[in-house]
């Protein structure tokens, strides 16, 4: 049994309109030190297998094919026991 934590973020050179709106709201609230806000996605997947290498290989494919869109997003993950 493994648990994967997947983080999908907007690529650095791609504008994040939601992040910009949140940043503006934070400034309105008085948090003037906030320089930049980027909004991403966090996903948790559990694997019912004992084969860690297999799980990791599959996770890599899942990120490439579905969980992230490589045109506009980056991804990284952690696999835990």
């Amino acid at each position: 049994m493994f648990k994967a934590k997947v983080y999908v973020t907007t690529k650095a050179n791609v504008l994040d309109p939601q992040g910009a709106a949140v940043q503006q709201a934070l400034h309105t609230m008085g948090y003037s030190a906030v320089d930049d806000v980027r909004i991403g996605k966090y996903m948790e997947l559990t694997f019912d297998t004992t084969d860690r290498a297999q799980a990791e290989a599959e996770l890599e494919q899942m990120c490439k094919k579905l969980l992230a869109n490589p045109v506009v997003e980056d991804y990284r993950y952690e696999l835990e026991d």
């Binding site: 791609v14 309109p17 939601q18 709106a21 996605k41 579905l66 969980l67 869109n69 045109v71 506009v72």
Partner: protein, 228 residues
């Protein structure tokens, strides 16, 4: 000419597409095709309508691209069948890799639903031969995620190969280079955010979308040497 209008759970412009094809394409036989279908043999035009698909969870079109019918669309596209993706259909085509780029949240964050003026940037395609190059037409938009993005190198390629078909005269969503619609390199797959199927009837006071459909009919007839 046989036309397939794909239907995903959440599609809501499918009937508009059916009516538009029936009203504008002489002798068209139009079927609504459910997303679980795995063959599209015999169709001359495949339309992927607007609305939503599978709740657009994760990203718009991300899950729809793995529907059985999308394998059939990829196969048909490779064989040269005309494919027209409108709004959510455009998002699905980019997710499926049948068109370059991606569609992101509008820069203003608002869902934009109003008429929009488009430049016909390329009138030399199977979808736009009925328009004049540079002509400005009025086609409505209705989307929250129509902000077209692609890397600079891809944009240069699109320009060099004349793949940008429609651009906004007044960019409503932050799209790079004001892009409203792009075509694939082979020229048989077009994706666009504006809705031509909502602009085909004088009762709705907008007929600017008609020529998009009649252009496809003309291209199909020429391909099959049908005169008239």
């Amino acid at each position: 000419m046989k036309v397939a209008v794909l239907v995903f759970p959440g599609s809501n412009c499918d009937w508009d597409c059916v009516h538009a094809a029936e009203q504008t394409i002489e002798g068209a036989v139009v079927d609504r095709v459910w997303h679980t279908t795995d063959t599209l043999e015999g169709y001359d035009l495949i339309m992927i309508p607007g609305g939503f698909s599978y709740g657009d969870y994760l990203r718009s079109g991300a899950i729809a691209r793995f529907a059985p019918v999308m394998q059939a669309v990829a196969k048909a596209a490779a064989e040269g069948v005309y494919v027209l993706g409108i709004c959510n259909g455009f998002q699905i085509l980019t997710e499926a890799g049948l068109l370059p780029g991606a569609l992101r949240r509008n820069t203003g964050l608002k869902f934009r639903c109003h008429s929009s003026q488009l430049h016909v940037a390329n009138a030399d395609t199977a979808f736009t031969s009925g328009y004049a190059a540079g002509e400005v037409i009025d086609i409505p938009i209705a989307h929250g995620e129509g902000n077209y993005y692609c890397e600079d190198a891809v944009l240069e390629q699109l320009k060099a190969r004349n793949q940008i078909v429609f651009t906004y005269t007044d960019n409503p969503n932050g799209s790079v280079a004001d892009i409203a619609g792009v075509i694939n390199e082979q020229g048989n797959v077009l994706g666009m955010m504006p809705h031509p199927e909502r602009a085909v009837n004088s009762l709705l006071r907008n007929e600017d979308g008609i020529r998009l459909f009649t252009s496809i009919m003309k291209a199909w007839r020429e391909r099959h040497a049908i005169v008239g």
